[in-house]
């Protein structure tokens, strides 16, 4: 039986179309470096673009020992193709653990791995350790109201990790990762789906909602005016999110919707403005570090889970808070 405290770990290196690492990738690399026990951290880099020298240096500083440029004869955006690539890399590297950032696409690849390799999968983990010779992942369930720990009993573990779960750390002895090409021939089955069109959403200038440390959310109480929400987000260097009501009303794009069926966030600081706190929304934010709520309705359910709640008008409270923050920051 392999000693899991010293086993290679395979990490999917999600990146943008122009080759920038997705922020939460740094977290799962840190996790992998801690778990690999020096047996190697292997990064899978879908080679639609090349990893730049800066990216390679950063990966080395975080503990990646090998970068595998994955070249496939089919579109790696297809989960079946990506799943086959990761399965063959896990096999080639001897990895007992595959770490992925939690996203819908990566969960699809995880599902493929579960069926094709017999791996045990845990999704949306917020921590991972080796215990009694097994990988044990922690995660919250039931809209953040329960903490569970799941052990993987299969020889291969596939774990998707939520953003903001791990503090990124550089390793004591950075290395320059070796770079090798890993060629994948997609099966006929994996090629049956065609990507007719794929459009990457342009960056907003604010932090990415799913991985931001601070998220300010507007709900029904904004009545469609998100300017105080955006202004406070900018004063805090945070991302802007919304409730289902706000996106359905067309006040903001659907990609800003936080909830069980939208984006799940667990930032250090969540601020809900005019957000009632319906259970669908709570399912997407209840695991946040500190929860602040501003709502004119004292009976809003969000106050049941708020660390700091203000019964008041968001149109006066938010601008005042933003101004005070900027004043305190200018005082340094």
């Amino acid at each position: 039986m392999t000693d899991l405290t010293a086993a290679p770990v395979l990490v999917l290196l999600d990146h943008t179309a122009d080759g920038a690492l997705r922020t939460p990738v740094r977290e799962i690399v840190t996790l992998a470096a801690g778990l690999s026990g020096g047996a190697g951290v292997h990064g899978a880099w879908p080679a639609d673009t090349e990893p730049s020298p800066d990216v390679l240096a950063e990966l080395g500083a975080l503990g990646v020992t090998h970068v595998h440029r994955v070249v496939a004869d089919a579109d790696l955006h297809l989960s079946a193709v990506l799943g086959e690539a990761l399965a063959s890399l896990a096999d080639a590297t001897g990895a007992r653990l595959v770490l992925l950032v939690s996203s819908f696409e990566n969960k699809e690849a995880a599902a493929r791995l579960a069926v094709t390799t017999g791996a045990g999968v845990v999704t949306d983990a917020d921590g991972l350790v080796v215990e009694d010779g097994r990988y044990v992942a922690s995660k919250t369930v039931f809209a953040g109201t329960w903490n569970t720990r799941c052990a993987v009993t299969a020889p291969l573990a596939v774990v998707t990790v939520k953003a903001n779960s791990v503090t990124v750390e550089q390793v004591a002895a950075p290395v320059t990762p070796t770079v090798a090409e890993h060629t994948v021939t997609a099966s006929a089955g994996a090629r049956r789906v065609t990507v007719v069109e794929r459009t990457e959403r342009p960056a907003s200038g604010r932090p990415d909602l799913g991985s931001a440390h601070v998220v300010v959310v507007g709900g029904r109480g904004t009545e469609g005016d998100f300017s105080p929400v955006e202004d406070l987000a900018d004063a805090l260097g945070g991302a802007v999110g919304a409730t289902r009501v706000a996106t359905d009303e067309g006040w903001i794009g659907h990609d800003a919707q936080i909830g069980q069926t939208g984006v799940t966030v667990s930032p250090r600081l969540y601020v809900g403005a005019g957000v009632s706190g319906a259970v669908h929304h709570r399912g997407g934010m209840q695991a946040s570090g500190t929860i602040v709520a501003v709502n004119s309705d004292a009976d809003a359910p969000i106050f049941e889970i708020a660390d700091f709640g203000v019964v008041g008008d968001l149109f006066t409270v938010l601008p005042q808070a933003a101004a005070e923050l900027r004043r305190l920051q200018s005082e340094g």
Partner: protein, 265 residues
């Protein structure tokens, strides 16, 4: 066009949900309901059959006795048939184990009359793993098109096309039928069962199948077939040191200072 819609009976998200000592969600029977997101799957299937002017919809579920309520709701919405796979050995299945049972049931149905499309919801509101649709497609060896915000079928060309919104991109995917599609809660507005639908549903039978009917071995499913096991589960402790105040004209300033004092900025 014959469409199978996979639906799940889950604890109501408005109820107090809990995990028992066996590591499984507590199902006390009282607070169960059709997974809300599966209503979107049923709606998508019914709307497709209506727009094509031909076809039928089968509601399929796996679970203990009370899970039959989920397919009955499907019948009330307008599904033509209902199938409930129930077997003690299924309890404790992980997503892949459940997918194995569903895949066997879809094959069983396909042996009677070919299945062109399998539709599911985007996630179960209990586990929220979203693993099932892709695992089911892999097991059935057909294409998977998950997370459809828009869904169109070209019956003549026998292809299915979806538009899906991901975290960082929008995609349009196309595949030949048969296929597995999951639809999001943006895809449509599910219909409410009307009186006629409720009355008609009473006359439609719910076919019950066991693992043996599907040629499945108990070792592949349930606790025996699961590759993960819950080792601990505990309700999250309530938040401490909470502050609740009513704006006295200075609440914004107090909020800013709270954030600075707690090193949140």
């Amino acid at each position: 066009m014959r469409i199978v819609v996979c639906v799940k009976h889950v604890p109501d998200i408005q109820s107090e949900r809990a995990i028992g000592p066996d590591g499984r969600a507590v199902r006390d029977g009282g607070d169960g309901t059709l997974n809300e997101l599966d209503e979107n799957a049923l709606e998508a299937a019914l709307a497709l059959v209506e727009s094509l002017g031909d076809g039928s919809v089968v509601a399929l579920t796996v679970g203990p006795d009370d899970a039959a309520d989920a397919v009955r709701k499907g019948l009330q919405m307008g599904a033509d048939e209902a199938v409930h796979v129930v077997d003690d050995a299924i309890a404790g299945s992980d997503a892949v184990g459940t997918a194995r049972v569903l895949a066997a049931a879809v094959r069983h149905l396909g042996a009677q009359e070919p299945v062109d499309l399998v539709v599911t919801g985007m996630a179960g509101l209990d586990g929220l793993t979203s693993l099932l649709p892709t695992a089911l497609a892999e097991l059935l060896d057909v294409p998977a098109l998950p997370l459809a915000a828009e869904l169109t079928v070209d019956a003549a060309a026998r292809t299915v096309r979806v538009r899906r919104n991901l975290d960082h991109a929008t995609e349009v995917l196309e595949a030949p039928l048969p296929a597995v599609v999951s639809v999001t809660d943006q895809a449509n507005e599910p219909r409410y069962p009307n009186f006629k639908g409720i009355m008609a549903a009473r006359k439609k039978p719910v076919t019950t199948l066991a693992l043996a009917d599907l040629g499945l071995d108990a070792s592949q499913v349930g606790t025996a077939g699961a590759r993960t096991v819950v080792v601990t589960a505990a309700a999250r402790p309530a938040r401490e040191n909470r502050v609740l105040l009513t704006d006295d004209g200075e609440a914004g300033v107090k909020l800013a200072r709270y954030l600075v004092e707690n090193k949140l900025v």
